[in-house]
């Protein structure tokens, strides 16, 4: 029956390689003296597992109970039964009360629709607003579960989706949530006059129609399987009755008192210091245990560690170099959480020197990724052999070509491809081209200069001349888009969706590497329109095999997020904090 097949599909939601987040509020992390130093402390002493699948949750994907996305009143609570283990050793019954303190790097804007769409904004919005769906980690796989939506269906060609909203949901000011709010939100986001960065993920939407007060229909421009997942990716519903008539880019009166449907509502803000939200007792998912959350603005990484130590904050993500500073403390737990992210080194496919796949494979054979993972990431993550991680369940294909360190093989491949060392020691072909490359990366992540220097070392052993070009975030982005590089160190954070069309399809605007492979084009086009789950799985398995051999990129790792959490925090889901914060209604604080 259509519904069953469609629901099967939504088990592992859509395909659409998500775009990156702006990982840090741009600039702040890079600015104070020792901006890189501020994240650098002694090396870590925590001992995470370093096996191939160091993600403790990445067990072989198991079938997901249908109840997770079925209609009816599937609430987050009912899904919790299937949820993976949560934060610190939960001592039984939740206690009401307490304020949870979360460190952010800069002032948040508690309004989700428009730029800057920066990280602190997203984090605050996750507690104050809701989307149609959200993400939950179940048995090592990130699933889409209903949030404001009760259930959804699609037509057989995946060009129309109908979402049924939950009944009885109210805004923080008491007004009821209706389909009009959903339509208003999406109309605003799709309007070109609105400055927003989240339009790309929903660009397939042609129109949003109100069917009745609690039913919304999305009419798409083309068949699109990933829609449900995309609707949960940093996307929230905003109130029409309060925002109508205001400038969406600068809703000044709304910003003074923002209103959402989420488990927490706006309480107060002090510019440059903090933003406070308080519990919403009428939250449809059940009143939160916490009294409130304070988002403290702490721009300096060392200061965040210090406040964690002194017990002034309950949560901060930490860089691997800061782990030792927060380990072994009686009031802090260090844990790692999975996130859907992969790190890579890209080839500039406009460059004919990279046209021969043997050259690309040679580069891959020159790196010892296990050593990089162990020494540079301190084991927090796992080696990646492709863009789809085990967190995507059965879409993940482990049977692909892998590259371990083999300098001889690398040298041989280069030689076979016609590259011989010239008198200056640099590889050259008989046309006189030299393998003298510009390697671009940004220093906003302390990891990048480290692994770039290592890679440079290794590549130079082969006779490749590497010039490192390490830039600030904005300059890096500018150069990247202008293709002023030969090798690029970068990453993608994606929604839990295998659709890589936007990055790998040859004519995609977001294909930043100019990669072009007609086979890949064909598979990705088919897969994003395919309603049948197993067929999609097979297509993506094929895709992974192709890219592992064709190597548009050298896949490096799936990094884990390292978090410092206070020991009094309980039931915070073990997910990347962006996703964990959508579940704040379940978190509680013990007395000590």
């Amino acid at each position: 029956m259509e519904i069953d097949r469609v629901l099967e599909e939504f088990r592992m939601a859509g395909t659409r390689v998500s775009r990156r987040d702006l990982l840090r509020a741009a600039g702040v992390g890079g600015m104070s003296a020792g901006a890189v130093a501020l994240l650098a402390a002694c090396g870590g002493t925590a001992t995470p597992s370093t096996s191939g699948n160091s993600n403790a949750n990445a067990s072989a994907p198991t079938p997901i109970p249908q109840t997770s996305i079925l209609g009816g009143s599937a609430t987050p609570e009912s899904n919790a039964a299937a949820a993976s283990p949560t934060a610190s050793t939960s001592a039984g019954t939740p206690i009401k009360g307490g304020t949870w303190r979360f460190a952010i790097q800069s002032d948040p804007v508690p309004y989700p629709v428009t730029l800057p769409n920066a990280l602190p904004d997203l984090l605050v919005c996750k507690t104050m607003y809701d989307g149609l769906v959200k993400y939950q980690l179940q048995n090592g796989v990130i699933q889409v579960v209903p949030d404001l939506a009760d259930s959804w269906t699609a037509n057989s060609t995946l060009t129309e989706y109908t979402f049924v909203l939950k009944q009885g949901v109210t805004w923080h000011d008491g007004q009821p949530l209706t389909a009009d709010d959903v339509k208003f939100t999406f109309d605003t986001e799709l309007d070109p006059k609105t400055n927003t960065s989240s339009r790309g993920n929903i660009s397939s939407i042609q129109s949003v129609e109100v069917v009745d007060t609690h039913t919304v229909k999305f009419v798409l421009k083309n068949p699109y399987a990933p829609l449900p997942v995309m609707l949960g990716y940093n996307r929230w519903i905003v109130p029409k009755h309060l925002l109508q008539g205001q400038d969406p880019n600068q809703p000044t009166s709304f910003l003074k008192n923002p209103v959402g449907t989420g488990p927490f509502k706006f309480k107060q803000v002090a510019q440059g210091s903090y933003l406070e939200v308080q519990a919403n007792p009428d939250y449809f998912g059940g009143a939160p245990f916490l009294d409130g959350i304070v988002f403290k603005v702490i721009p300096d990484g060392n200061a965040r560690v210090a406040q964690m130590k002194s017990g002034d904050i309950d949560f901060t993500p930490v860089d691997t170099s800061q782990v030792s500073a927060v380990s072994g403390l009686p009031n802090v737990t260090v844990r790692q959480a999975p996130q859907v992210q992969y790190e890579y080194i890209a080839f500039n496919h406009k460059d004919p020197r990279f046209a021969d796949v043997r050259v690309r494979q040679a580069f891959a054979y020159a790196l010892d990724r296990d050593a990089m993972l162990k020494n540079l990431l301190k084991g927090y993550g796992s080696v990646a052999n492709g863009p789809i991680s085990p967190l995507m369940g059965d879409y993940y294909n482990p049977d692909v070509q892998k590259y371990s360190l083999d300098l001889n093989k690398a040298q041989q491949l280069l030689s076979d491809a016609g590259w011989k060392k010239g008198s200056d020691g640099i590889l050259a072909n008989d046309k006189g081209d030299k393998l003298s490359l510009r390697f671009l990366g940004t220093n906003i992540f302390p990891l990048y200069p480290l692994d770039m220097v290592y890679a440079q070392q290794q590549f130079q052993k082969l006779g490749v001349d590497i010039k490192l070009d390490i830039e600030s975030w904005t300059v890096n982005n500018q150069k990247e888009l202008a293709f002023e590089w030969d090798l690029l160190r970068s990453y993608w954070i994606t929604p839990p969706e295998p659709d890589m069309y936007d990055h790998y399809y040859s004519k995609s605007a977001a294909n930043d590497w100019a990669y072009s492979n007609p086979q890949v084009d064909d598979i990705l086009t088919k897969a994003r329109q395919e309603p049948d789950h197993q067929t999609r799985v097979n297509l993506y398995h094929q895709f992974q095999q192709i890219v592992a051999t064709d190597l548009p990129l050298i896949y490096l790792y799936y990094p884990q997020e390292v978090q410092a959490v206070s020991t009094i925090t309980h039931d915070l889901p073990v997910m990347g904090y962006r996703d964990a914060l959508s579940w704040m209604n379940k978190v509680w604080l013990s007395k000590s």
Binding site: R19, R20, L22, A25, A26, G27, V28, G30, M31, S32, A33, G34, A37, T99, S106, D107, V109, T114, L115, P116, N117, A118, P192, K193, N195, S197, S198, R199, G200, N249, Q250, T252, L255, A270, Q271, G272, S273, Y274, E276, V294, K296, V297, I298, P299, D300, N302, A303, A306, Q307, K309, S310, D312, S472, W473, T474, V475, N477, Q478, L481, A509
Partner: protein
Amino acid sequence: MAAYVVRRLLQAVVLLFIVSVVTFLLIHAAPGGPAILSNPELSRDEVAQIKKNLGLSDPLPVQYLRWLKNLSHGDLGTSYNSVAAVTDLIRDRLPNTLVLGGVSLVLSILIAIPLGVVSAMRRNSALDRVVTGATFLGISMPVFWFAIMLIIVFAVELRILPTGGMFTIGQGFSLTDRAKHLVLPALTLVVLNLAELTRYTRSAMINVLGEDYIRTARAKGLAGNVVIRRHALRNALIPVVTILGVYVPRAVSGAAITETVFSWPGMGLLAVTAANTRDYPVVLGATLTVAVIVVLSSLLTDLAYGVLDPRVRLR
């Protein structure tokens, strides 16, 4: 005197205009563009569209004139990063910086000048050597290291002072609470300022003490203290006042590093972040604000000269 002040103010307006043009050109020349447009989620078309929406695709003179026109209405524009009016941001943050900077400066003066004077009078004594050594240490210490050390010692280990911020969240306004939060950041800045100020005072004093008129005064039979108070100090203060003229802008523009480490919501942090992320309206607004204060303080300094040094007649 009045004519002098008026002339100076007119000069100030011209100066401010030049400052704004230079700032405008510099920040637009910086590569990369506004950080909000560097969001990887944006396609090239979207970036172009947003640029147009923000007025950034207009030629630079047009953009500058638009800014100037808004300025004449008291509107400094909207921050790209905070979606807040620049005037609101500055209004919220400037007092915080002034408090921190002001308190630090006053403390520095109260400590440094006597210290410098005594040091100069007892040149090469044990006291002098200690002071010189300590000030040398103070100048050489990296700010961010010293600041974080203070936090670790006093806030994390000893727990007698807060780890950062301007006040305790959730409490109403309390003077003791604010004072407690002010201690460590002010201490950081004082130690920094102290080192320089003491050395300047000491040098200035040493120079003055070597002057002929001091020898004359002593020869006249005046007691040491009287010599210092009536003749030496006033003259030694002139170069010191000059230095203070430099300290005021520093205090106002905010010590970005100190503010960052102590999470102090001030102008320094705001301006530096804005510059790094090319938040043009904030950069222009913050620079202009600081420039206005600098110009005014420079005027006050010159007026102070008129008081201190009768040889100076302000025309």
